[in-house]
Amino acid sequence: MQHKFTSEFNLFLMLILCMATMSSLHAGIHLQSQSNLITGQVTSADDASSIPGVSIIIRGTSVGTTTDALGNFSISAASGDVLQFSFIGYLTQEITVANQTTLAIALSPDVWELSEVVVVGYGVVEKQNLIGSVGLATKKDFGEVPATNAQQLIQGKISGVQVVNSSGLPGGGVRIAVRGAGSFTSIDPLYVIDGIQGNASLFNSISQYDIESITVLKDAASTAIYGANAANGVVIVTTKKAKSGVVRITYNGYYGVAQPWKKLDMMNAEQYLDLVKDITNNALPAKLKSDYVTEDRTDWQDEIFRTAALTEHSVGLSGGTDKVLYQASTTYTNQDGIMEAYNYKRIIVRLGLEEKIGKWLRLGQAINYQYNISSGNTASFTEALRMPTYSPVYDPTNLGGFAKVTSADDLNDTFNPLTSVRLSERKSRNSLTFGQFFGEATILPGLKFRSQLSIDMSNSSSYNYKQANANGNLINPNSIEESYGYYINPLLENYFTYAKTIGAHSFDVLVGNTYRNGSQARSVNVRGTNFPNDDLKTVLAAPGSSITGGSIAQYSSLSYFARANYSLKNRYLLTASFRRDGSYVFSKNNRFGNFPSVGLAWKIHEESFMGSVPFISQLKLRGSYGITGNSSAPLQFSSIWKGQSNNIVYSFGDAKNYVQGATVNSSFDPNIKWETTKQLDIGIDVGLMEDRLMLSVGYYNRRNEDLLTYVPIPLSSGVGGPFDNPGSILKNTATASNKGVEVDVSFRGSAGAFRYSIGANMAYNTNKVISLGDGTEFQRGGVTGGNLVTKTAKGEPIGSFFGFVTDHVAIDKADIDSYNAIARSATGNPAAVYENGLLPGDIIFRDLNGDGVLTDKDKTFLGSPIPKWNFGSNVNLGYKNFDLMLSVYGIADVSVWNDLTYWTEGTTRPFNSSTVIVSRWKTEGDISEYPKAGQNATASRNLRASDRFLEDGSYLRLRSVTLGYNIPLKGLNKVVSSLRVYVTGQNLFTITDYKGYDPEIVGQDFLFDRGIDRGQYPQPKTYMLGVQVSF
């Protein structure tokens, strides 16, 4: 090992030398002129890398040559000859020879190349031999997107893969759901980086400029090789690999601005005062009676939003010989958030090496290092929207210097949203080092052994210092919170592969294991307060401090896997895989799970009878069935509970000192085992017109069994912490299903200098809970006001929205009397009323069960946060040196719970509100969509969970548009081999009926609290100007 690191370091030094002597290296490609000898270099148009082995033929002759390892060639040709340059994976190019002596040829990659290989679990497969349902997105599909998360790159690119940004802030999280929701514990897919299992944070630590392709494995035949934890699909990222040749240097950079794209219409001071009078029956404190409150001073949305600057620079360098390939790149990103006062900076460095030793051993090392700093707290929407507009931002007489409003003076105790943002200093630093090492030995022809090791290590620290301030009704002392954590996670995998073709039979076999041990994580959180001044921002300077949390975790797993692929006459394909996984989570008896799969495909177009239908270039039927697992559960044991931070305490003694308590707060089922997902896939792939038109249609049926469900146990058991409502036992009890259809279609071609390729995908999914087994239906997903708004019940999608259905706002007493009359006749009770406490101006909810009165039995399922439709489209157009890329993404048949309207339309008490409330019910006889102000005067519960807050969450978004221009450099510059400039616009428009800021909503857990918008930071509208240079 020592030796390996040393040699690596030497190679790295060499790289740096290479960079320094770049120009002299270029001098090495010095070209000599001869009258009939043409020399030159062939490069790839997309990244300017040289292409070795390109076939060059004088058209109509057999005279030809190929490029050397550096992509150079020389050929004798006469004026008027046509040179054909062709290479697999690239479009053939023809050049008519005039009197040139040198040629620089840039071949355009053929995106839909038939023999394209696709990275799958533990290997690659030719695209035409795919049996499973596998989605692929490459650099050409991503375009130039300021992605701080690599996950964002596949949004809208692959059918059945929903990608949702959980925040519009740079560095914000992303949730991916493949084919609906098939677990009650986690629906996050497995991430694989260059063939080794990782996680979302490793995935996101890779610069988008280093990514070659992202593959999503969706069907069981593809995913079952990752058995455990593959139940939610597998996302595989493959990084760019160096090619042999002289050093190549590329630069990518952009500058951009991001803006919010929507503002909500909020009341002005006059409208607000009218609302306050309405709520309080005109009982106003002195301040609200003064003229001071009739003037608009602040647009709070303008104050918290801002135009943000984004920059990125990336430099890459690669090259090598037939023995050693090397690669180094670094990317620096600096993005402001569109919300006060957030900033994100990141640097990524990637070093890669690959060595060939003799003819049988290949070694590789890659180190990816990411360091990021996010700083600044973000302002809150709910605070900004509720602030009265008469309040200024600043008030020098108030502690901290920011204005406040209070219950006593203003009847409104909203916090000034800028106080906590501007009077704080927050920084979070995170470094992540991710190393991958492999050795691959060719033991016999076709028989290989590969051993691969990955280690990721992360260190994180953060502090948040807040200055003392008075805000709302509160006085907040200065304080600091700090946290420190690290984790280390090694993984070792070993496997044999053997491939052999005997006549019409070809097969390959894979056998291996995975060993994860020594993974651990530790963290600690501390808090301090009462600093004498704001000079020292460390808990060490705080007179009072405490440890507020922390954890230690260890985990391990052990797996064995095998796969066999068999192909007969290149027409009939069979794949079968098996994995046995062991996890520390389960007891010894249930520790191991077995996950088999089988897949079949028939390449009909290879049959002889298909020769008569030449327009069909590809026709393939495929099907697969398999079982995958999920173990994302905590370790189960009867633990002593002392509180999250040893804070089960009670006060005793004259000084009321906190005395530590301990108890048991959980019960557990020792017999829990793996969740299993059984999945059937059937698909057909069709290629027409020499595969210029490709169509792929697939059907799947995923059945998720033994889902680990927190089965609630009665409150009267007493089990559980105060935050469990109620306590629960984790059991394998529920069954869910996801069924759907996925369609991918693409069309590409060219007409003269015009090139086009259009791809579109669409997926339909229905999610349903089949059974809850021992578990009863349960409500989670709490929102403002304490309502539980999602319910998971048999026959409905997981985490469906549940509540009352609004009929209308009661117009007058006669309106209510008519409902009470119905209640009396339906119940036979002369004292019956439709609903207790119902008054004119309150919302009348529908009596769905027809018993004449409104009860909890009139609640119903209102909608689902899981979209039934997912769709996306990519359009790539090229004309001469221009290129245009459009990317569209959308979802439909989905609901969003607009919880922000609890504040903006709820008129719970005097808060600034949406202007729609101006037309609220005010007096007998008013017909309005909005109930009377001041809900709590009658406790009428107009704010109960109802479709009042539910909105159509469908949207169609122009995710990005890029217009690029390749500046012709012919004869201009010998150092720069290509130069492209581009402009990109992101999220330029979004078609949606959603009334909140942005319909792209995650919610807290993406399962039972999915699709609830509590004021999630919206995706910004972004404009960028970028340049790409290759040397």
């Binding site: 009982a283 105790d413 009704n473 052990l558 007493g718 409502n725």
Partner: protein
Amino acid sequence: MIMKKFITSIIIPVLVLTAGCNEDILDIKSQNQYSEETYFKTAPQFNEGVVATYATLLMNGLYSRDAYYLFDLLANDAENNIFLLGDVAQLHDYSYGPAQPQMSDLWKNLYRMIYRANLVLAKAEEWQPTVQADMDKKKQYMGEVSFLRGYAYFMLVNLWGRVPLKLEFSEATELTPRAGTVNEVWAAVESDFTNSINGLPVTYGNADRGRVTKGAAIAMLGKAYLYQKKYAQAESEFMKITAAPFTYSLNPNFDNQFSAANNLSTETIFDIQHKWTDFASGDQYYMFGGQEAWGGKTTHTGRAMEYGWNDWNNTVVSPALVGAFKYQDEEGDSYTDPRARLTFYGDAASGGDTDFCHTCTKASKGGSLMAIYAPDATKPGPYIYPFAANNTIGYSWRKYEYYETKEFYAGPDSNINTQVVRYADVLLMIAECLIEQNKLSDALPYINKVRARVGAFQYTSLGTLENAKTILRHERQLELAGEQVRWFDLVRWGIAKQTLNNEKQLQLGKQPFEDRHMLLPIPQIEKTTNTALTTDISGDWN
């Protein structure tokens, strides 16, 4: 060469491959938490189990938040102010249903208390200490958790009637139906309090003040008898704590019984200990569900801030309660009880306190309100404030508030202990027992003793039996206003519907109290998770 290649390429990989087969790596033990099997073996560990049982007193529905809302609003001691948000606002007009969160929380956390007590009792059976000090501790600990379990069932039986009875730790996760009769639950209550009396000391040392005492257990046993109308037994229990070895007496300063100074009061029989240190150790908002989770270490209550007129101002004093402080003396003259100005702020006509900040040193925390009413920030209090114009009802809480020492509290972190049973309450309960046994003249001195402390006129006679009952009930309303006692009183006296509908008719223009409201609804979550209990619930309520 071939041999070497064979060795490196086959043998090593096969060795590596099989090396992974050691399944022991999957045996991982938690490094964060102890296991139940190895805990509760020593006195300090048992003490932790006892403390965790006490800690449930600070959970939601109970005394960090909700108990004051629940019982003050239900009994119309407090009325909603416009700031009161969401579900809590449903309490004052009885428009709540089985999903009412504060009621679910109360039910849930009383059963947490029972579960934790059962755990300690079960583990104590296995603990056989040999040292005398440990034996004494064991006796005390068992007495403490018996008291707390008894207290939990006392609350449950009064509020919900028949409830599931769980007296063994081993049956914790079983689905349990409700007890056959209310009397079975009362029997468990009496048994727990009786057992705890035997194990508990009369007093504790300085380090342990705040733990339940023998006196507290006797008072609660007396209450249990009183609530069941077993007046003679109740009287006998209550009388015990008026004599040696007990040394309870009324706090000469009524205000101090409801201020941060009440921790050492001789009037306190059982109270909930509240303390806030600072943000370093705790989170001010812990009472919104952060207990034992994100809330850090603290035991404070949100009451002062939530009821405080210059803070969150969520409730006001109900007009009915304000009116009760004005009554006729024995000569038939209009009389304003001196406790009016100790209980609430209001205009002069109401009898409430009309100024505040009697002992504020300066207008320390400022704000524009103070700019109007106390323009000179260096001037000490008191300050006159137009309380009647402060809200639509006009009366604000003074009891349990800080406004005589601070004009603006600015954080929901009150240190003022919550009174559960105090000596004045016991004296009035003795009077009640005597009145109910028609020993009116015996009862008189107990009522007068309580009145004398605040300087209220002394009754010379309680009149007829009915008069005596009325005086006693009125006295309890005034003395214990805002102490979450009146709801239990109204219900056990059987006058809740009549009294509250009369009061609400004047306040809200409706009579929302129905017969079913005498008991709280069985929480919806309990009904959906405990199928053993659902069949005998009538009308979706109880």
